[in-house]
Symmetry: C2
């Protein structure tokens, strides 16, 4: 079953169907949880890690989540590096979860909207990832799954502080809400950095496409809450949703203005991006991301008619990444070889 997941670049979030999907690619809720009476992962021995994994697996079996929720259990040490790479490229696991440490596992729902990392930084990281802007729906789902697991597992919880986590920034609700947002107009008009500064003052943080420590790629940003302590879950989600809506409005406004004032220039940007993706022989991952961003803008502005929709664009974004490319080719490839395979993919698919 893991082969099916790895073979297709589709995921729940790639469907391009959620609200405001023209600007918000996906909404993510992540809950950090730890089992009571077991040391945090940073300090635990291998034996402890195994016990934690076993307890969690036992809960999953008892709750019949495999049948009821179509959940698959994958032990990370049974996966190849390339398989883990693909799960990362699909945003189903974190970069840390790719590390060669024992007792890591992934519980993945068949639609890939729910993925639970076991023994990442925390014992449990419950993630719900949906297309478009629907943090509340993602929260409802994460909360439901969390409640189920909590019915069988004793979480580390402090009456005043809330859920205890490995990293202090996650203590409290253990909740991180984030949106993946596409802001080509705000970037092009150099307004993004000012907006991002304001977000910092609101307790929000802006990161690149693959979370902490990564650069933003192709006008795509991840906005998430910084603080989890001393706030209610609903408050965090409402706050991020409201801010995201404001950013969407601003981005839409600037897109209209820029397009009305310099329609030829915008069409030129978009068409060139298409021309390069369609014809290049070597394409780095970074350049492909940037060009795909232009295509995304062109499709939204309805100035590029190439018979490609947002869903296919999202899938291309996933399919053009190193792990996917190598998996499809069935071999390890050097950078130049990957860049050539990536170019071939775009030549063919666009």
């Amino acid at each position: 079953m893991i082969e099916n997941i790895l073979a297709v670049p589709k995921s729940s979030w790639t469907s391009g169907k959620g609200p405001n999907h023209h600007i918000v690619l996906s909404s993510r809720i992540r809950l950090a949880r730890n089992l009571d009476k077991y040391p945090m992962n940073a300090f635990q021995s291998e034996d402890n890690g195994q016990t934690v994994l076993e307890k969690i697996e036992k809960a999953v079996v008892e709750l019949e989540l495999i049948e009821q929720e179509c959940l698959g259990i994958y032990h990370m040490d049974e996966l190849t590096s390339r398989q883990k790479q693909i799960l990362f490229e699909k945003h189903l696991i974190s970069r840390e979860h790719m590390d060669e440490k024992p007792n890591k596992a992934l519980l993945l729902r068949r639609d890939e909207a729910v993925s639970i990392m076991v023994n990442e930084e925390d014992h449990l990281r419950i993630q719900v990832l949906l297309p478009g802007l629907q943090l509340d729906k993602a929260w409802d789902e994460a909360d439901r799954i969390d409640d189920m697991l909590e019915s069988r597992l004793q979480y580390a919880f402090h009456e005043e502080k809330g859920y205890l986590t490995c990293c202090p920034t996650n203590v409290g609700t253990g909740l991180r809400a984030s949106v993946m947002i596409h802001l080509p107009a705000l970037v092009a008009t150099k307004q993004a950095s000012n907006i991002f500064k304001t977000l910092g003052q609101l307790g929000l943080v802006v990161r690149g496409l693959y979370g902490e420590g990564t650069e933003a790629t192709g006008y795509l940003f991840q906005i998430s809450n910084q603080i989890t302590l001393g706030r209610k879950e609903a408050e965090i989600i409402q706050n991020l949703t409201a801010v995201t809506k404001q950013i969407i409005e601003k981005e839409e406004e600037i897109r209209r203005i820029v397009y009305n004032e310099t329609p030829l220039q915008i069409k030129d940007r978009v068409n060139r991006a298409y021309g390069i993706l369609k014809n290049a022989v070597i394409l780095s991952s970074q350049e492909a991301f940037n060009l795909l961003s232009e295509i995304r803008l062109g499709i939204d502005l309805k100035i590029l008619d190439i018979g490609v929709n947002i869903e296919e664009l999202n899938e291309l974004m996933v399919a053009s990444q190193p792990g996917f490319l190598q998996n499809k080719a069935g071999k390890t490839m050097e950078k130049l070889e990957r860049d050539a395979a990536r170019a071939e993919l775009f030549n063919k698919m666009l």
Copy 2:
């Protein structure tokens, strides 16, 4: 008849049929001549200019060149700026000949291989422009026409110095031989500038596409003799031909090496150029030239199969220039409008 010349971007030199046309676009011979007993143009009054023009026209009529050589006579002051611009873009007149000064004329053979400027810097500038590397053939033709004119016109000639010309650099043979050469591999590998330095030591000079004072555009260079005094015509032509053949060999060698060592990178350059020309919405003249250069390289290396041959490429080079674009549109256009019209032309023609 001038309308026919202005309407089509074809010229004798654009046919892409001469020897070594894969690297040498065209060969040009130009003879500077002045009528004896009339002041040089730089010093002459308007009346003198008129007499010079009349004497030359009389010679043309008496020699029956209009009938025998299919020569057309065009008075520059009867042409619009745009018409003159197009003649310049086709390399049939110099930039100076576009100036609004009286008594300038152009004698142009129907195949556009022979063009004679009257009252440019000198009273007569006889130009023969052929495709590929065939300076000797161009010289034979220029010499033949020069002899005919000389049979009716008394040239200013000094027994020791040779033909007298307005600018001292032209005194002697009055001959300038030049080739238009395409050197993408030598430029890309940064060997062109060294070669150009050596050319200077050999009494040759390298200029841009449109002669004196212009920048080289799109890896296209004009190489010509600097010295006209104290050398025989045959010597000048043999010298330039021999040097050009060496440069061709070098360029061919480097193309092979670069292509063998980095085939993907070369294909990438060429294909991207095609992708941009085919899809851009705004294209400056400079960028279009550079991209056409890549296409030219791709066609020569047989790595780009877009059903376009060198002749069509040469025509596109002419057709995409400001005068031509505006003539086709039937109106004066601002830069952005021209850049958009140019992009449209390439989108359609490639």
